[in-house]
């Protein structure tokens, strides 16, 4: 940007520079015929309105309600999740891991930001942050504390570092007193963070 000033508010300056930079890039790539802006719009629309944690919540609710589906999910998550129509980019190879009273599961990508897009959408900023990526494997119990989660001291914590193209979905424990709820009602209870393992439900 012209007239860059070091007195300028850093975040604002960065945003403005990036705004200009990405607009120029999109314009250039369109002129070169490498991208179609309508496809760009459609990709954004997909992740803003269609693919997100509500997909994963449906998977979790179905596993809570249907023992056969849960068994399938834990044995072959890719196929079980695909049966609900959730397939594709950044969810090609899925593994579901079940929280129990004995073991809590938590997912991280220490090397970049691998995340199960098909069931959770795009990752939140904290998941991609240096603080989470560095500490999740070293001191997960303290990281859970940052989220306000305190597990019993006897509960083991298994941290899954997604270093390949396998993507992990945490199956949280079903809350007590939910026996009467429908699958849609169960799904509305499930938070995104519970499916990453940084919340309980």
């Amino acid at each position: 940007m012209a007239g860059h000033s070091h007195d300028h508010d850093h975040d604002h300056s960065t945003l403005s520079e990036m705004d200009v930079r990405v607009r120029a890039l999109e314009s250039l790539l369109t002129q070169k015929g490498y991208i179609d802006p309508a496809a760009i719009d459609r990709i954004i629309e997909t992740y803003e309105t269609e693919v997100g944690p509500h997909n994963g919540a449906k998977v979790v609710a179905k596993a809570w309600a249907e023992p056969e589906f849960k068994a399938w999910l834990l044995k072959d998550a890719t196929a079980a999740i695909a049966s609900l129509g959730f397939t594709g980019r950044q969810g090609e190879h899925m593994v579901a891991v079940e929280n129990t009273p004995e073991q809590h599961n938590m997912v991280v990508c220490t090397l970049c930001s691998c995340y199960p897009w098909t069931v959770l959408g795009l990752p939140p900023v904290w998941y991609k942050s240096a603080a989470y990526r560095s500490r999740a494997v070293l001191e997960p119990r303290k990281v859970l504390g940052d989220f306000g989660v305190a597990l019993p001291e006897s509960t083991r914590i298994r941290v899954w570092d997604s270093t390949a193209e396998v993507r992990y979905l945490v199956l949280p424990k079903r809350p007590a007193g939910t026996e009467h709820l429908s699958q849609a009602e169960l799904a509305s209870l499930v938070s995104r963070d519970a499916m990453i393992g940084t919340a309980l439900v």
């Binding site: 945003l15 990405v22 496809a39 970049c112 930001s113 240096a130």
Partner: protein, 224 residues
């Protein structure tokens, strides 16, 4: 490469900062940056491992001080510059100056849904039998390759146990050996290996912690 991106176990980054009602994107350019990067993947001029390698090859100080999608855009620019798909003059002008190179595919509004739904599976047929089986002890090799690798430093040299065997998967270290198509596509067995926290972080660390990594066969050696 022992880069700054390999963050597991580093200290000093402070608490995990949470944002109430976090928006999907924090500025309109972030959504365009995400989608442009996804769309350019269809060009076939690089693969996912080469794009990760480009991100982690940014200068360390720049990597640490850049926002997430800023890293994506800087790496995308590098990928295109180094293949002659765009020039520096074009990037600064935002205008086409030279003709495009031929690309494999351009996503359109009509083809994008199918492309996202299909994804890019990395599982491949593999002829040779797996060297390791579930329950077996293995050591993560003490290796420090100059190029792209997916074996985090914090497990290197340590002994863990095979937890899962995933089949043959495209091996990232080899997948990045050729920068342009046709890519080198070696396939290796992929495993999930579980390590005790105290093995990785010392006897004073939390004894209830286990950490798993997904590791290709050549990252591992048998423990006798």
């Amino acid at each position: 490469m022992n880069g700054v991106h390999d963050m597991g176990g580093q200290q000093g980054f402070g608490p995990v900062l949470l944002e109430d009602n976090e928006p999907l994107f924090h500025a309109p350019w972030e959504s365009r940056a995400m989608a442009i990067t996804v769309a350019m993947g269809a060009s076939g001029q690089w693969n996912i491992d080469l794009s990760r390698s480009a991100r982690e090859s940014l200068p360390p100080a720049l990597y640490l001080s850049s926002s997430y999608y800023e890293i994506w855009i800087r790496a995308l620019e590098q990928l295109m510059l180094s293949r002659g798909m765009v020039t520096a003059a074009e990037l600064s002008a935002g205008q086409k100056i030279s003709p495009p190179v031929k690309v494999n595919r351009v996503l359109t509004r009509e083809t994008v849904d199918a492309a996202l739904k299909a994804g890019s599976p990395t599982e491949r047929h593999i002829d040779q039998p797996a060297l390791f089986k579930v329950g077996q002890k293995v050591r993560a090799r003490n290796m420090h390759p100059q190029g792209h690798t997916r074996l985090p430093r914090y497990v290197r040299g340590h002994v863990g146990t095979i937890l899962q065997v995933h089949g043959g998967h495209v091996f990232p270290d080899g997948h990045t050996l050729r920068a342009t198509p046709p890519f080198n596509v070696p396939v290796e067995w992929l495993y999930t290996v579980v390590f005790d926290g105290t093995t990785l972080w010392g006897e004073n660390s939390d004894p209830t912690v286990e950490v798993t990594v997904d590791a290709w066969e050549s990252y591992l050696e048998a423990v006798s």
